[in-house]
Amino acid sequence: MKLFIYRVLVFLLPVLTLLLVMELYIRSLPNEYTAKKEYMDMHAPQVETLILGNSHALNGINPAYMDGHAYNLAFAGQTLKYDWELLQYYDSSLTHLKNIIIPISYFSLYNNLESNSTNKFRLKYYKINFGILRHENILYNLEIASVRFSKNVTTIQQQVFGTTADAHAPGKREEYLGWSTRNSTVEDIEKEGKEKVARHERYIRPEELASNMHYLDNIISFAEQHKCKLYFITTPHYASYYRNMETDYFTRARHIMDSICSLPYSTQVRYIDMMKDSRFTKSDFVNSDHLSVSGAARLSSILNGLLREP
């Protein structure tokens, strides 16, 4: 048996070594999470406006258009749970925090990252970069195991040959305040809207409402403790998106948000629904639910006006 184990180990050694080297190499590469972590570790005490949430905030709210020191700590697919976890992570550092902005998307109250097949590979970043949460599934603690092996090879290949693998990579921006935009605009926004809603609806799990409400409560308590204003925003969407939505879910979510925000708190908690905002035209969108550079500028300026209000 010893001979068997020895030979199997010798046989597997090159494979295991290769996998280990790949894991370490990919971990060493800069990505959006490492860049934001680095920034927040250095500047969290100066941040006055913190933007959290998913890609709707990541692409839609540009801190460059806001007064004071604003920073966008949103990530694609980020749910309320991880907004709350990040707030907790920087709890003691956010000493000058005045405003928190969190997007409430169509699906925000009904989903979780763990069951979102498109984005759950991102779970590892919270563990690797922020050291928060340990996932039962070992795949989500490792870089190479949470995506297809071919994707890892492509990432390494692009690094070695000098092209950037991550469209959101921080190197693409001159002034990195956490905001990023998408590289291309969809050709057929009508068709894309319908498909996008269908994809988002696959991740809707009504049973997640209770836990998301719990995270909302925690976030509100956090805002009260830090005496900062809390803004929940539904970012503008193109008509092809909201026309195809299962309206019951969104109506219910909006009703919940209105109810929550109407309660008396020791700080200002507001919900602003801009889903169908007529100030945004087709050129303000890169696709049915993400704003373009001009759209983000417009939304950020509008929000900045709101932040100035007493």
Partner: protein, 477 residues
């Protein structure tokens, strides 16, 4: 825990090392290690269902002893009925209750009555159909006096819960596995290497072929109305490949894993897509289930003895029951019925035992006639698979209708690499069709370097295509 998970890749070497570190004359200790590992393996899904498994084990252990020790036929029968009744009762509640209620409501709705009967929100315990059938075969074998009851609880519990076969078979028999559990097991280097080779081949089938086919199959089946005839045919063929590689891949991993621990499990697949008629296909597909139904349903019903009508009735019974075993959905029943219809010509013409040999056993390639027979058998089974894959009867009928509409709508583009891999896979299967699994013997004449290169190539392909863990199709049954 599933085989194609990192957790299993850690679990297996740990259990293997502990197991063989124990002295081989300590069979009891080895069995306890395996039993503990098996229960842990099962609890990784949902520990609550462990109690159901343990209850089933205790029930069959106790009733087995009672049947064996009873002298009166009446008492033997009573204990047998209790055991089978309770086992099937659990299966009915967890797997079929909602189906019966929904069907009953639909039937009443058809005559204008709408009763308010609630369905249950139950999760199907993984592997329940498999371990229930283990227990049933054990009880029936004791009842028919083929075996004596097992008095050692650990040994019996291990027979039912042995982790390689616990969740998706092969469905073992007490006559085959229990003697191995009780026998002293010596580490055999050649067998262990063979086990690893079969595991590797199983992973290749599952991760590289089945999971890649699934990407296209899922898309084509869920958007079948927008695809044209060619794409729909392609979707059905890819599903035929997917389900074979998924389930036989699982079986290969199970058999290889068991071999690492010194056990030989029942063979489950024997190159079914090289069958020349449906009867041969069913002797080569999910062999442990087919033989279970043959021994415990078909033969007690009279088998092929008696008149023609009785033969036809018995054939339909086992295919319909087999379909229903797969799931509580009319699609599975139709799938079973369709296979029974396919089987009838062989039965009526007394040709169901015609092909018991290996196709083109003494030649490199099949004759044109054999090729034609294989193609026809594959086509028939692929049509039946449409019902197996569809979510409901409507979808299956629309899918079939789409194929025969000869419409030229959207066409799916399958990657050339997948075509190449499927092609190479079937060539390998053809070359290894005389073995227990394709890679078993064809590498023996290769130089060591070439063999190792192929193993590394398979590992690279598995890593290349590995991503999110995809459950095995048969876990849902």
């Amino acid at each position: 825990m599933i085989f194609n998970s990192l957790a299993f890749l850690v679990f297996l070497p740990v259990v293997f090392t502990i197991y063989w570190l124990l002295k081989t004359d300590r069979i009891r200790a080895q069995n306890i290690v395996l039993l503990a590992a098996s229960l842990y393996f099962y609890a990784c899904w949902d520990w609550r269902f462990l109690f159901l498994l343990l209850f089933s084990i205790c029930l069959d252990y106790y009733t087995g002893i009672k049947i064996d020790s009873s002298t009166s036929t009446r008492m033997r029968k009573t204990w047998m009925v209790i055991s089978i009744g309770v086992n099937l009762g659990f299966l009915m509640v967890f797997k079929y209750y909602n189906f019966f209620i929904d069907s009953f409501k639909d039937a009443l709705a058809a005559v204008g009555y709408h009763p308010n009967i609630q369905t249950l929100q139950l999760i199907l315990p993984v592997g329940i159909s498999f371990y229930t059938f283990h227990g049933l075969s054990y009880i029936l074998d004791i009842y028919y006096k083929r075996i004596r009851s097992e008095r050692n609880f650990i040994d019996y519990a291990l027979f039912v819960s042995f982790f390689p076969l616990l969740v998706a078979g092969p469905i073992e028999r007490a006559t085959h596995l229990l003697p191995q559990i009780k026998k002293r097991r010596q580490f055999d280097y050649a067998k262990a290497i063979d086990g690893l080779r079969q595991i590797l081949w199983g992973f290749f089938k599952k991760v590289v072929i089945a999971d890649n086919c699934a990407l296209y199959v899922n898309d084509i089946f869920s958007n079948h109305s927008s695809y044209g005839t060619v794409s729909l045919i392609l979707g059905a063929i890819l599903f035929a490949v997917q389900i074979y590689c998924d389930f036989s891949g699982y079986s290969d991993i199970a058999l290889g894993t068991a071999r690492l621990f010194g056990f030989e499990l029942l063979r489950n697949f024997s190159f079914p897509y090289f069958s020349r008629n449906i009867a041969e296909f069913w002797r080569r597909w999910h062999i442990s289930l087919s033989s279970w139904f043959r021994d415990y349903v078909y033969i007690p019903l009279g088998g092929s003895k008696g008149g023609l009508l009785k033969k036809v009735r018995n054939t339909f019974v086992i295919f319909l029951v087999s379909g229903f075993w797969h799931g509580a959905n009319w699609t599975f029943i139709i799938w079973g019925g369709l296979n029974a219809v396919y089987y009838l010509p062989s039965l009526l013409l007394n040709q169901n035992r015609k092909y018991t040999d290996i196709v083109a056993e003494h030649t490199m390639l099949p004759s044109l006639k054999e090729l034609g027979h294989m193609a026809l058998t594959f086509t028939l089974t692929t049509i039946a698979w449409i019902f197996f894959r569809a979510d409901n009867l409507n979808q299956a009928l629309e899918y079939l209708g789409g194929i025969f509409s000869f419409r030229q709508s959207e066409t799916v583009t399958v990657s050339h690499l997948l075509y190449l891999l499927i092609g190479l896979f079937f060539i390998t299967e053809w070359m290894g069709r005389k073995s227990n699994y394709a890679l078993e013997h064809i590498l023996q004449r290769w130089p060591r370097v070439a063999r190792l290169t192929l193993y590394y190539l398979l590992i690279i392909l598995i890593c290349w295509f590995a991503g999110e863990e995809q459950e095995f199709i048969y876990f849902q049954f």
